[in-house]
Each structure stands twice: as C-alpha cells, then as structure tokens.
Amino acid sequence: MVTRQVGFLGSATDEGVAVVVDVRLPNVLRPLVGGEAVVTAGGETLREVFDDLASRYPGLGPSLRTPEGEIHRHLNVFLNDDDVRYLGRLDAKVGASDTVTLMPAVAGG
C-alpha cells in the first residue's frame, strides 16, 4: 500500500513516517474517486487524511468539508466504527491499521 507515490504518501514515505489508512466510500461519493469503493490516504490526523484525499481527488474535497473547514453536516465519518465527532473531530489521531468510513447521514424510525 505504501508504495503508491502520490500526494501526502509520496512525501511522507520519504521520511518513513507515513500512516496509510483505508478510506471506504458510500455509493454516492464513488464517482468522485473514479468509482472505487475503497481508496487509501495518508496522514496522522483525520485532517491530514482529508487534506490528502482532497489533493488527490479534487472533486471529493467539498463533499468532505464545508468552506469553513468543518465536516460536512450530512456526512458521518467513522474511525473504525467510532464517529469522529466524539473523538476530536478533524484532530482525531489515525493509526496504521485504521479504516476511515464515510457514510451519508440518514435517519431511522
């Protein structure tokens, strides 16, 4: 996985400190990453992972964050299975075996 020399991954692997995580996308966002269900991204915090995603998939950026830099209100972001809104939001630390899952906000009832 770390062999992909793009964006954050490229520069960080040179220093040997890259954390690479899988990012799982819902159907509605897949067209923005060439149809993939899972992509990889690098960073030590969720903010860095989002920065990396936005630089490699410019169309995806506005679906992740508002112009003010907050997580899009209709997007739920889970680090493994925990909602990052309660783990420090964009400052949430990510580890090497983590998976970031993006899901649209939907209701039950």
Binding site: P26, R73, D81, Y86, T101, M103, V106
Partner: protein, 315 residues
Amino acid sequence: MARYDSILDTIGNTPLVNISELSPNPRVEVFMKLEGLNPGGSVKDRAAKAMIEEAEKDGSLSPGQRILESSSGNTAAGLALIAKMKGYPFTVVVPENVSVERTKLLRAFGADIIPSPAGEGSNGAMRRAQALAGEHPDWWFSFQYGNPANPKAHYEGTGPEIWLDCPEVTHFVAGLGTAGTIMGVGRFLKERNSEVKVWAVQPPAGEKVEGLKSLEEGFVPPVFIDGDGYSLLDRSRVVGPRESIQWARRLADVGIFAGISTGAAMAGVARCASEIDEGTVVTLSPDGGWKYLSTDVWTGDLDEVAERARHELYF
C-alpha cells in the same frame, strides 16, 4: 396497580432488568429497559401517544382528521393503534424493505399503507410523506423526526423512569433513529447527574441509501439538531447487522427475546463496559423479536441472515 381503563394507560412504565451476566466487565452492571412490552410492541408507542395528545391539546389535530406519518414500522404501529382507538383515519408511508410482520401488524390496526422504494430507505419514505402533506393540507402530519413531542415523551417518561429505578446509572447507551429516545433520556439524565455519559449506536447506512443522489439528500433529524445532539452525545458508534444479530441471539441466554436494534444496542453496551473501569450501564430495547421471526434472526445461518439484514430496515 395492574387494572387500567384504557390500553393507552399501559404505555410506558416498562421494566428495567438486570442483565449483568452479559457484561464483559465484572465491575460493570448492565440493565435493559424492555420497551417491547408496550402495547404496540415498541418504544415508539410513547412518541406516538405524546405526538397525538399534544396535537389534540393545541388544536392542530381535530376529531376525525386523517393522520399521516412515514415510518419503518414501529412508530407506525404505535400511531395505528392509537388512531384506531381514537377514531382517526391513518395513512403511513412505509419502505418496502421492512419485515412482513410490520405491514401485517399495521393492517391489523386498519392503517392505509403507502409503500416507498426500498432503495430510498426511511429518508425516501419521509420525503414522500412530506410531499403528501403538501398535497393534503387537511391531513395532520405528525413528522416524528421534527416533532418536539417525540423527545419530550422520553424526557418526561422514559428518562424519569430510568432515574427512579436506577439512580446509580453512569452510562446510557441507545440506538439513534429519530433521536427522540436518546435526546429525551440523555438530556434528563444529564440534568440529574452531569457525570452521566450518553453513547449512541446506529446501523451502517449501507444499502439503505443506494438511491441517494447526493450527500445533500442525507438527513439529520431536526429533533437531534434542535436539541444540540452533537453536544449531548459523548460517543457514537456504528454497529453492523452481523454483530447486532449475534447479540440478539445472546440475549436469549437471559430470557430476552428482542429485535435486531436491541442487539445493536447491546454491542454498544459491550464496547462501553469493556472501555470503562466500573459503572452501571443502562440500555434500552426498542422492540421485541416477534416482528423479525420471518427473517430467521435466531434460526438461520448467521452469515446468510446478516447478509439479508443488510437489505432490510430494522432501525
């Protein structure tokens, strides 16, 4: 007292049962409130009753007026039961991918069912109900996702009941659907003891949202936004169908026959209990297992049942 003038008086005051033998941490006690014992079979009887009675009081619902709602089944059952008793005709938009027991139960109470496409999930059903409400201004749309009577039913009922039965509660863990339960109970408990932590569980959006054309079609219930749910919650976790079904099966060990969303709540309880040092976790079982028998939750091969559940709405 066990004698009542009306079935509606039996809504609420459900039992809270010690199920600590399922706790993964010996220093954490676990209690479960059994909402499946309400007459319509779920926690949603509380919101249904509160929404109707509040509307009767403020005059927005008049005798004989048609009630409209969208629901994956439980709110619909509560409303259908009460509407039948009180003489209101009732129309409900129900996603096609709910278990067959749910629609049969609704028919038992005489509800008019309008099916909505499975791929649009609960949100699609809600949008259709909103459109119907626009076309029929003479109907009363209860709109459970935005009706303050929904969380209020839990702030005034479920929350105080838990506090009365278990004042030592340190954590409340419950599912997030309309957010009514968690907002009402969570706010009440935190007002009594600011140290109480509130953990939510939710199912993966998964197949429910295949029909979503953009993120903007996503939906956060006004009940959650208006009550500042983001500040109220301390943790929120997504629990998949497989883990939910495994826990629904394990609950049979303590004699509790509950639905898949109760299994999801238990998965949240287990995580909570294993992360904290000691405490008392209270959780809520939204409904019993009856409405899921046709889906072979307890009797089928786990992988097959979990795969099927990915395509059904159970929250």
